[in-house]
């Protein structure tokens, strides 16, 4: 019965914690406690089980052949390794997450481009004390007074003054 082990990937929990957004912090904490529990349980079990002292039993047990039979069967026994059912699901989840992350990053980049465009507009604006009213209406279209809808001064509803 040989014990085999795939190497566990070392996880930097500090760096991981930094990347968690505040609204998912509780989920992260739950994950961490669960992981710690599992790791503690694993550490508490020794790697190989206690060896059986066959010679002592051979002398002690009177029934002939019982110990030999046990020994033979014990040595021949192969304990099946537990089947891994979850890794595929996790891999599938990871692929999906990558896709949605790529989409989010694309959207985020679009947002950044929009913000930068507006920022450039503000930075390239002429200073307010050198603007005329036409310049102001060009830069901020919402300041343009609708002289067709309200033909008389002040060209906007009194409530808006």
């Amino acid at each position: 019965m040989a014990g085999r082990r795939v190497a566990l990937k070392a996880i930097d929990w500090v760096a991981f914690a930094e990347r968690v957004p505040p609204n998912q912090r509780s989920m992260f904490n739950a994950l961490k406690t669960r992981t710690d529990g599992i790791a503690a349980k694993l550490a508490s079990l020794p790697e190989t089980p206690a060896t059986i002292d066959w010679s002592y039993y051979k002398t002690a047990v009177a029934k002939a052949g019982m110990v030999d039979e046990f020994e033979k069967k014990f040595k021949a026994l192969q304990i099946p390794e537990p089947v891994d059912t979850q890794t595929n699901a996790i891999n599938a989840q990871e692929v999906e997450a990558n896709k949605s992350a790529a989409a989010y990053i694309e959207a985020s980049k679009g947002r950044i481009a929009k913000y930068e465009q507006q920022l450039a507009k503000f930075q390239n604006m002429i200073p307010f004390d050198q603007m005329t009213i036409e310049d102001l209406n060009d830069t901020f279209p919402e300041t343009k007074l609708d002289k067709v809808k309200h033909p008389y001064w002040p060209h906007k509803p009194i409530a808006d003054l």
């Binding site: 014990g3 694993l42 039993y57 950044i112 930075q123």
Partner: protein, 245 residues
């Protein structure tokens, strides 16, 4: 001027393909250059009426007093020749002018400051809006970048999950190993315990049986003889002890 403009617009139609539409030549009387900023102060004026340029104009020829002499001469000429006739309107004008000039001199600067303040407030409000917009935009860009950085760490989550799965499998495997060993050991120990029990029971049974047989083999005759012997022994012992004591 209109003829001039229309002739030029004919030219523009012909040259339409040569020049970009947004830069058509002379299509309106407005120049497309950016308007130069307004000067800080208006034109300098002496005595509120006469522009400074007039004095500068006459300075080379007549020096500092030239324009004043010109003004005085003109005034005297108009009065003497009765081009301007002094009547009651003159005094009305003089009184009104006095009051107006007094009012302007007294209240002018404060009114100007007030008007300037109104303008300043408008500009400051607009500036505030602009600054706020710029800071919020930069903040927004930073936040987006931060979120992108956060998203990049998603592989760690899946590594953690896979680690968990691996640890659980290993734990399970070890538990199975331990269980097998323990069970085999328990069975062997059970056999040994069973054997010990058997031996002990046989021993006890044998002892009991021997005791019982010995006790039953003592006949009444032997009992009487042993009791008599005991009494004799006791008497002898008593004699020896009495003697000593």
């Amino acid at each position: 001027m209109f003829l001039y403009l229309s002739s030029h617009s004919h030219q523009t139609d012909a040259m339409h393909g040569l020049v970009q539409a947004s830069r058509s030549l002379h299509t309106s009387s407005q120049s497309l250059a950016p308007v130069p900023p307004l000067p800080e102060k208006g034109g300098q004026v002496r005595h509120g009426l006469i522009p400074e340029e007039f004095f500068q104009l006459l300075y080379p020829k007549t020096g500092v007093t030239g324009p004043y002499m010109l003004g005085t001469g003109l005034l005297v000429y108009m009065l003497s020749k009765e081009i301007y006739v002094i009547n009651h309107e003159t005094f009305v004008a003089a009184s009104i002018a006095t009051v107006v000039i007094y009012g302007i001199k007294k209240f002018g600067p404060s009114v100007a400051a007030f008007a300037d303040k109104l303008n300043e407030e408008k500009v400051a409000k607009a500036q505030e809006v602009k600054d706020l917009a710029m800071t919020s935009l930069t903040q927004g860009i930073e936040n987006e970048k931060k979120e992108q950085w956060r998203v990049d760490g998603r592989s760690m989550l899946f590594d953690a999950k896979r680690n968990n799965v691996a640890m659980l499998l290993e734990t399970n495997y070890r538990e199975r190993l331990h269980m097998v060993t323990n069970e085999v050991k328990r069975r062997l120990d059970y056999q040994i315990a069973l054997q010990d029990l058997h031996r002990r029971m046989e021993q006890e049974h044998m002892v009991n049986w021997v005791e019982k047989s010995v006790v039953s083999s003592i006949t009444p005759q032997q009992e009487k003889e042993s009791i008599a012997k005991c009494i004799a022994d006791l008497k002898a012992l008593a004699k020896t002890t009495q003697a000593r004591a």
